[in-house]
Symmetry: C2
Subunit: 290 residues, 2 copies
Amino acid sequence: MAKPIVFGSIEGVDEGHVFTGRREMMTNSFHRNWAAGIDGNKNEGVSAIVLSGGYEDDEDLGDEIIYTGAGGNVGKKQVEDQLWENTQNAGLIKSMTEGLPIRVIRGYKHKSEFSPSGGYIYSGLYSVVDAWEEIGKSGFKICRFRLIYAGQNSSRKSGEEIELNYITKEKRRKETTVLRIIRDTKIARDIKKLYEYRCQVCDIVLEIKGTRYAEGAHIKPLGRPHNGEDNPNNLLCLCPNHHLLFDRGSFSISDSYNLIGNINGKLKIHEKHQLNKENLKYHREIHGQY
Amino acid sequence: MAKPIVFGSIEGVDEGHVFTGRREMMTNSFHRNWAAGIDGNKNEGVSAIVLSGGYEDDEDLGDEIIYTGAGGNVGKKQVEDQLWENTQNAGLIKSMTEGLPIRVIRGYKHKSEFSPSGGYIYSGLYSVVDAWEEIGKSGFKICRFRLIYAGQNSSRKSGEEIELNYITKEKRRKETTVLRIIRDTKIARDIKKLYEYRCQVCDIVLEIKGTRYAEGAHIKPLGRPHNGEDNPNNLLCLCPNHHLLFDRGSFSISDSYNLIGNINGKLKIHEKHQLNKENLKYHREIHGQY
């Protein structure tokens, strides 16, 4: 496929847009893969899926979809086990762990009250929030994913509302929930790739179903009141434990890359990666690490 | 204080409720601490705060509040540095890392367009989403917290909207955001306390500004489609790295508590903690770990 993968909204195609056929989705990278449901791969993640009635185990609740992964399917029947590793299913895992949004398109053959009578309708951006395996209707292992609506259309349910929907009022009084918005950017993904998803503090690599997981940590935080930049010189590749400890100021980093605070050692820096020392200084100051 | 701390909504007190004085908040644990702004402590977290104009550095934007921690304040002036450890500021950190909601009450003396002309108004539940230190107007170190609205009032902005508000439309196209809803429950907190916040897999303790951090991991997941129970026999105390790897099925646990999959070793189990083997089996099955 010559065209690059594109994540998120695409200029000129709003929610509810109807395509008369699948070729129309290919020119602007909306869905580049004419023959398959999934556009994406294990290295980059999945950018778009077409629901077209090919999988007997799919469940469509509108803002929430239980989706069956790729493989082992012939003539709408499962005839062998699906796999995680080295498949597009690993791409869906990548989208989940990196928070990449997926464009969902429903085709006229897809059995659901949300399907169009003809052509293909763009149903908006969704997030993968869960993945597991089970034995499907035909007795073979299938890879399963839960997708929830993640677009900006305020007349639809937000991800928060969808998730809280399953909690009764009584339970809500007992439970506390916290919302973490994990932002990921092209630049953060590039930094993670540079380090091959290895934590710059502890060297750990977290492997998940054939994919690798790490987090892009901004040294001077994005957003109010810090207003740090999304720039490689303001980013680190960290495991979740060290991302948390760094964001909360349990340790900081000296200008010569020594770890300071409640930790020993030195930050590993790739020869192609330069940090902005002003940002390191800012981090030390807001967490009192000198 | 004899009354126990209570987190979240309290029966009979809705958003917008006006108290004529602070004693009225004490009987139902709404805010137990007559003399101080903060109700809570470093071990349990903070359940409620009263904004009453005592801190010169507070900023009130309504659904978002930049709040100054406790200490070093005499007659509305900072006269010495504030501290993190062994203070109520550590309690606010605890509320942040555990996702505990905080009842925010605005008093008539608090300088803000959202303050009542008399008495005290209950402004709803807020989450602490950031903490840092800086030098305040009087030249002393102050502990700072960003709180955002986290209640269920649909006529107010959701946490998601507040956070995304700071991102321009153009940036939204480039950034991807993922919403993680972290649920915490009384039972999960009890399990974490039992293990003193030590990861049952790797033994690590994560220390953050005088508090400890761990996550309660449900073995059979809560919510659709798994519908696991919030019960001690379905919970583990894990660090974020092992919570992620466990939730994503990179490893599972045998009936004799051996770790299986992409990891070696044995789960540490406290003598007072029993796991439901059916839940362990469910986890192995949905992640193909045998």
